[in-house]
């Protein structure tokens, strides 16, 4: 097909680009363009190649300008595929566009996505996540599902191999030959998930790329409530999460952690975005069972966690041995590492992580 050729060109360019910027990072799933209906796809393909390779989000809002986002910069897109800041010149997706898009991303079967509609996002093959906005339907005071969906936020998942290189040495306990309990903190869009994914891959395959004493591969269990870390489709991960990794897909974190502990005997548990009471309980359970937990949470500083009761308890009990704080500005990710007493271990190292 004609766009395959374009994709190849763009793939090559994207690879070259990323390699320079990230030193070893590699993007492996540029199939996200296939998600879009023809008209929007052709507009996006006309975007400057450099921009296309760096896109992180595409936003479709019915009747309002088409918007793309790369490394924090938002731009509208004209019908000719030119980025612009003028909303009046931008292409405005029609009702037909959004209907078509919804049909494509739901595999023509919206009814199979009831759980996803309740949560407000869909994960599609390739691990990309599409957030939805529209009118909600309530049942017993809770959101039952979303109808009249008119806003889409396509977050393009990037598999960046090597994203965890710089952080991994801080998480490995050489004396006891195990991973430390770690909590990764960052605001949304700063590369938590990408980091977790690469951590899973490297821990599971044995830390071949990290410049430390090569630890043996460990059994890794990923609880992937939002299908973001592994991007599983029909239970099989679309990303490389390592050879010794089990993924519990679309499973509530607390329950998933307990299930993994009981049945899959992991050495390391990886969970995304913990925060609720039962999550904290499950994390505690895992820590007592001698399983290392690497979790992430929203927040830019450990002090913020003090405001959330469940997290506060975890911190007060000094459950985590290492805190990793991610911060990204202008496409570069920096991180800080703190120990369990909140002492800074290392200042402002230039990281190599990238956005998920």
């Amino acid at each position: 097909m004609w766009y395959k050729k374009h994709l190849l060109v763009y793939k090559r360019k994207a690879h070259g680009l990323k390699r320079r910027q990230l030193g070893g990072g590699r993007i492996t799933n540029p199939n996200w363009l296939e998600l879009f209906p023809d008209r929007i796809k052709s507009i996006l393909l006309r975007l400057p190649r450099e921009l296309l390779g760096k896109l992180e989000e595409v936003r479709i809002r019915e009747g309002r300008p088409l918007e793309v986002n790369e490394s924090g910069g938002h731009r509208f897109v004209t019908e000719e595929g030119q980025p612009t800041l003028d909303g009046d010149k931008a292409y405005r997706p029609s009702r037909d566009d959004s209907r078509r898009f919804l049909d494509l991303i739901s595999n023509h079967s919206l009814y199979t996505l009831e759980e996803e509609l309740r949560k407000g996002f869909i994960t599609v093959p390739g691990g990309h996540r599409i957030g939805l906005a529209g009118r909600t339907v309530l049942s017993g005071g809770k959101v039952e599902h979303i109808r009249d969906i008119s806003g889409f936020n396509i977050r393009i998942a990037r598999e960046v191999r090597g994203a965890a290189n710089a952080i991994l040495p801080f998480l490995y306990d050489e004396r006891e030959r195990r991973m430390k309990h770690a909590l990764i903190l960052s605001p949304p869009q700063h590369g938590k998930t990408t980091l977790l994914r690469d951590l899973a891959r490297q821990i599971s395959s044995g830390g071949m790329e990290a410049p430390i004493a090569k630890p043996a591969g460990m059994k890794v269990g990923i609880i992937d409530e939002r299908s973001e870390i592994a991007g599983s489709v029909h239970g099989v991960p679309s990303f490389d999460v390592g050879p010794r990794t089990d993924v519990m897909d679309a499973c509530p974190k607390a329950e998933g952690m307990m299930m993994m502990i009981r049945s899959m005997s992991p050495d390391v548990l990886i969970v995304d975005e913990i925060g609720r009471e039962e999550d904290a309980e499950a994390v505690t359970e895992a820590l007592h069972a001698g399983i290392s937990v690497i979790a992430s949470a929203h927040g830019s500083a450990p002090e913020e966690l003090q405001n959330r009761p469940a997290m506060k308890r975890l911190m007060d009990n000094r459950m985590f041995e290492v805190y990793v704080l991610l911060h990204r500005s202008r496409g570069k990710t920096a991180f800080r590492i703190m120990d369990r007493q909140m002492r800074l271990l290392q200042l402002q190292a230039k990281g190599e992580a990238n956005h998920a």
């Binding site: 209907r99 023509h108 509609l117």
Partner: protein, 172 residues
């Protein structure tokens, strides 16, 4: 001699046309019944199996006989082709391509056409309601088709022969 041969040919053609027509009258309720069963199966696939539409259609196609099979099969293929067809377009195109081969008439087609607008675009309860509605309408059409069959099946058989005979008489 030649005249006699021609007369026989005309009679034969008339009779065959009559039988063909009668067969269509007989096949229509049968096919509608099959379609209703297909709707019920689709309802099950959607409500209990959470089967995505292309897969559900493919399964239906596997269980159905011709000519309904090709309708569902080609709709499933259009949907899965990856060329950006919506479910609605796929179903409508498939109806357009394969409807002529069935013995069914416009009302049934309209029901499926109507259903194609909603299939796959809403939650389960809504889907089930729409499919049940379509099945209900099809049942109504089936009853009408049976009436027509009872009225016209035999008539059209004899009518074919008689029309043939009439033409022969007129020509001679």
């Amino acid at each position: 001699m030649l005249k006699l041969f021609g007369a026989v040919l005309i009679l034969l053609a008339g009779t065959l046309a009559g039988f063909h027509q009668a067969a269509r009258f007989a096949a229509r309720p049968k096919q509608i019944r099959e379609l209703i069963l297909a709707m019920q199966r689709l309802e099950t696939e959607i409500s209990y199996g959470f089967t995505p539409l292309p897969d559900a259609f493919r399964r239906l196609a596997g269980q159905l006989g011709e000519p309904l099979r090709s309708i569902f099969k080609s709709a499933a293929n259009h949907m899965a082709s990856g060329s950006g067809n919506t479910a609605q377009e796929s179903i409508q195109r498939s109806l357009h391509d394969h409807w002529k081969r069935t013995a069914m008439k416009a009302p049934e087609r309209d029901i499926l056409h109507q259903l194609s607008f909603t299939l796959g675009t809403s939650d389960r309860q809504d889907q089930i309601k729409h499919i049940a509605l379509a099945a209900q309408q099809l049942k109504h059409e089936e009853a009408l088709a049976r009436d027509e069959q009872a009225k016209y099946e035999k008539i059209s058989r004899s009518l074919g022969l008689l029309v043939g005979a009439l033409i022969v008489i007129l020509i001679f």
